[in-house]
Structure formats: structure tokens, C-alpha cells
């Protein structure tokens, strides 16, 4: 009984063993070149992983804008730059491409640029495009090696609108005619408006200031870029960059204590001075970022809250007008911010801000009725919930 069973099973086992050995050898033979290449590090599509020991500080290039900058920039809804007689409006398309349109002071079309990471298309209204196939449209590979930002597309659209599209070359990440002079967008821009998420709008203008002491023994003067930040139409802070003195300062009432300033002396030890050249968009985005992150910290309590905002110091008062509406929501009645009266307070703040009113001008009808109408509107709103914000009637009050 036992012998027939062994006789039947033994051949089957032998066949199975032979097939098994053959399959294993075949797999090993197929994988060995790849394994060998990977082990030797000679494969075309492989690269050694550079492991950083825990606790090691990574050396990043301080002269390059970091991920946080591009995260903030990526939430910019629209950027409007005024260059003398040209206005360039840059915005984001739904498919991720960026778009910039240039117009002159009269609103006439002066060019249109659309950019993706691969392709740049520029349509010139005058029909001076060099692309033989498309006539007035230039289509080019995006070889700028710059990350796409609204500032970049606005500057590119401005350059092409001013200099034309003949014999284009890449220089410093910007496409321009071979014989055209190199343009400095930051110097040529007169005003930059950055519309960001959460109702934040930063507007940069340029001014000249006489010598002033920003801190004991530290005098600043000359040409400065001044950014005014508003949150839902209400003034929310200011920042300033002195071109000659390389001093940056900002004030966010309610979020910072007075004026915060940074000069090259603060950065000398670590970077030898400013590690990058600030540009006009950076100043707006820096102001927005400071407001955004400080608001988050104040709300989430990750750092000590600033519950008693101090008045801006002398310098801030010199540079910036006194704030008309110092807190979003209902000043002195914040417990009711979550109720229907919140809208009344926000409308009142907006009305005050636009008419230059303060708490000291609550009843100055002998000077102007503007503030009094703001007050009548908010009282009415509190009393009966009616909506009579005078700033919505532009023809009446010119708000």
C-alpha cells in the first residue's frame, strides 16, 4: 500500500522541484543587472539620498525666496502695478496659468501675456509679433528658470508692452528685445496693489522723507516705499522700506507693539546685510504675511497675546496717519461680534476709515456731516437692524 503511493508522488515532486528551481533562477537572473546597477550607483535614473543627521541645521540659500514666500504669493488674487502711463493687472487663471494685461492711462489695450511653466504667450495689440505663424502673437518656451509669480508676469508684460517683441532674448530670467535697455521694474513701478485672500489688500506707493530718527541714534531718510494694508477695507497696518538706508519697518496696530524695524546692522552678523534685494511685491507680501501670521498667533494663542495695543510711536505717527478704526468688529462690544450687530460695526469702521473720522469726531457737524452720518447709520443699524451705510451711496458722500 505504501510503495504505490510513493511511486505516484515521487515523479510529481521531482517535476515540481525542477520547475521551482528554474523559476527562481530566472527571477534572479532578471533582477541582477538592476540590483548591480543600483548597488554601484551607476544607474541613469538613480541618485544617492543625502541623509541629514537629526539636529543638523540645513544650509539654505538666504538670498533665495523660500517656500513660505511662494505660499503667500500663491494666495495673491490680483496684482496691479502702475508704471507711469501703463497699468498692468496680473491675475491667476483657473487652470493654474498666470495672466497679465497691460493698458494705458486711457484704458486702451497695450498687450496681454499668459504664462505657464512651459509656455509663454504674448499678444501685442500693434501686431508687432515676430512669430510668423501667429502674426501678432508671440509664443515661446518658458526658459526663464524663474518660478511663476504675478510680479514676474506683470514685469514681463510691461517690458514687452514697452519695448516690443523683436529679436527676443532671455536675460536674467526675463524675455526682452536684444537691443532694448534692461528694465528695473521696482524702480519704474509707481504703485503696486496686491489683493490677497481674507480681504487683505496691500498698496505700495513711493515717497521722499526728510531725515528722521527711527530709533535712538538711527536716522533714515530719502526715497521710501510705503505699503498700506487694509483688512476688509479698514486700515490694518503699514510698512516702509528705505531704499538708501536699507531699513525695513512695519506697524500692525493690535498685533505689534509700536514700530518694528530691521536694518542691515541686525543682519550683518548672520548674513552680512540684507541677503536679498527687496522688491516692491516683496514689501506688500511681507506686510500681508506679518499680518496673517500674527493674527493667527493671536487667535490660536501660540504666543502671548497682545491685548493692550500701544499707540504707534512718534515715528509711526509721522509716517502714517492715525488709524481711524483700530479693531475689526465692535470696539468695546466684542462680546457681540458674533451677532447681527457685527455688520453694523464693520460698516461703521469702513465709513469712518473712508471719511477720516476718529472717536474724537463723533459729533462735529460744524466741520462736516460725514462722520455724523456714519454715526447715525450705526445707531440706526443697532436699533432696528437697518442698512443705511452712507459709504454705499457713493454719489452722496463720495466714499
Amino acid at each position: 500500500m505504501k510503495a504505490p503511493f510513493v511511486k505516484r508522488v515521487a515523479p510529481l515532486a521531482t517535476i515540481a522541484i525542477v520547475f521551482g528551481i528554474a523559476a527562481v533562477r530566472r527571477t534572479a537572473t532578471a533582477e541582477s543587472p538592476r540590483l548591480a546597477a543600483a548597488t554601484a550607483g551607476t544607474g541613469a535614473d538613480t541618485q544617492d539620498v543625502r541623509v541629514v543627521p537629526a539636529g543638523t541645521r540645513l544650509a539654505t540659500d538666504p538670498g533665495k525666496k523660500g517656500d513660505t514666500y511662494y505660499w503667500i504669493e500663491g494666495q495673491t488674487v490680483r496684482s496691479t502695478i502702475r508704471f507711469g502711463d501703463l497699468v498692468v493687472v496680473a491675475d491667476r487663471r483657473g487652470d493654474g496659468r498666470l495672466h497679465a494685461k497691460a493698458t494705458d492711462a486711457a484704458g486702451n489695450d497695450r498687450g496681454d501675456l499668459t504664462a505657464s511653466s512651459a509656455v509663454i504667450q504674448y499678444r501685442s495689440p500693434a501686431g508687432d509679433g515676430v512669430d510668423a505663424q501667429n502674426g501678432s502673437t508671440v509664443q515661446a518656451q518658458n526658459d526663464s528658470r524663474e518660478r511663476l509669480t504675478l510680479h514676474w508676469v506683470a514685469g514681463q508684460a510691461f517690458g514687452l508692452a514697452k519695448d516690443g517683441t523683436a529679436n527676443l532674448v532671455w536675460q536674467g530670467g526675463v524675455m526682452r528685445p536684444r537691443r532694448a535697455p534692461k528694465r528695473d521694474i521696482d524702480q519704474e513701478a509707481d504703485e503696486v496693489e496686491t489683493v490677497w485672500a481674507n480681504g487683505l489688500v496691500a498698496t505700495l506707493t513711493k515717497h521722499d522723507f526728510p531725515p528722521r530718527e527711527i530709533a535712538p541714534g538711527r536716522v533714515v531718510q530719502g526715497r521710501a516705499w510705503v505699503t498700506t494694508l487694509t483688512a476688509n477695507g479698514v486700515p490694518a497696518g503699514h510698512s516702509i522700506w528705505f531704499e538708501r538706508d536699507q531699513v525695513f519697518a512695519y506697524s500692525l496696530p493690535g498685533l505689534t507693539e509700536g514700530l518694528v524695524w530691521i536694518g542691515p546692522e541686525h543682519l550683518k552678523q548672520q548674513y552680512g546685510g540684507w541677503p536679498f534685494k527687496p522688491d516692491v511685491s516683496w514689501l506688500n507680501l511681507q506686510t500681508i504675511a506679518a499680518h496673517h501670521f500674527r493674527t493667527l498667533m493671536a487667535k490660536q494663542g501660540f504666543v502671548a497675546r497682545q491685548c493692550e495695543p500701544r499707540q504707534p510711536n512718534r515715528l509711526a505717527q509721522f509716517f502714517f496717519p492715525t488709524l481711524s478704526a483700530n479693531e475689526p468688529g465692535c470696539d468695546g462690544l466684542h462680546y457681540f461680534d458674533g451677532t447681527m450687530v457685527r455688520q453694523c460695526c464693520d460698516d461703521h469702521d469702513r465709513c469712518y476709515a473712508k471719511n477720516g473720522c476718529t472717536w474724537q469726531s463723533w459729533w462735529l457737524f460744524w466741520k462736516s456731516w460725514s462722520c455724523d452720518f456714519c454715526n447715525l447709520a450705526v445707531v440706526s443699524c443697532f436699533a432696528v437692524g437697518s442698512d443705511m451705510d452712507p459709504c454705499r451711496s457713493r454719489s452722496w458722500w463720495g466714499c
Partner: protein, 132 residues
């Protein structure tokens, strides 16, 4: 004299409540803006309670009429409230007349409630003393 005591009691009650709120604004009262009793529900309740207590004690001890006692305490608390409102670092704010009206209503209700409770307590004590 009774009126002066009530006024001072109302003034001190509001002031003391504000001092406590300032000291523990972020932890006890969970305040987000500047320390001010109408900026936080807990602070509002604390101030309300302090004024009720001051008014009740004044009414129970002084023996004035409920209305007179309550109004005097409310006047004292309102005076303190106005001082605090205009002297706080953030300033009175852009809608300060509305804030003053709202605060006045809260303080008036608190002081009248305290005066009523104090008068009731005084009557009960007297009735207890007479029967005893």
C-alpha cells in the same frame, strides 16, 4: 451720606471687577481684545455680579428705598465705567456712545437687581428679628 456710600460702593465694585479682569484677562476671562467687561461674556458676568453684590449689600445695610439705592450704585458704577473706557490703552473705540449706553443698561439692571435683593434681605432679617 447713604447716597455717597452707594455711589462709592458702585464705583469700587466696577473698578475692582475691572482690576481682576485685567489681571486674568486671557486665562480666566478668555479675552481676545483689550480688557473691557463688554469684550468677554465671562467678564460681563463678573462685573454684573460685582455690581449686584455691592448694590445688595448697600441696600441691605443702608435702608434707602430700592429705586434710590439702585440708581445711586448704578451712577457710581457708570462713573467708573466711563473713566475706564476713556483711559484704557486702546481708547474708547469708534462706537463709544453706543458702548456707554449698552454698559449703562447692564449696570443699571445689575444695581436695581441688587437693590431689590438687598431690600428683600433686609425685610426678611427685620421680620426674623421681630418674630424672634
Amino acid at each position: 451720606m447713604t447716597r455717597l456710600v452707594g455711589f462709592v460702593a458702585g464705583f469700587l465694585a466696577f473698578w475692582a471687577a475691572h482690576v481682576v479682569e485685567r489681571a486674568h484677562w486671557t486665562d480666566w476671562f478668555r479675552g481676545e481684545f483689550d480688557p473691557w467687561f463688554l469684550n468677554s461674556g465671562r467678564a460681563m458676568a463678573a462685573t454684573f455680579g460685582a455690581v449686584v453684590l455691592a448694590s445688595a449689600v448697600t441696600a441691605a445695610l443702608a435702608g434707602a428705598s430700592r429705586a434710590a439705592s439702585g440708581l445711586v450704585v448704578a451712577a457710581g458704577a457708570f462713573t467708573a465705567m466711563t473713566l475706564v473706557l476713556f483711559l484704557k490703552p486702546a481708547g474708547p473705540g469708534t462706537i463709544f456712545p453706543i458702548v456707554m449706553v449698552a454698559a449703562g443698561v447692564v449696570l443699571l439692571v445689575a444695581s436695581m437687581l441688587g437693590a431689590w435683593a438687598g431690600a428683600r434681605a433686609r425685610r426678611l432679617i427685620r421680620a426674623g428679628g421681630a418674630t424672634g
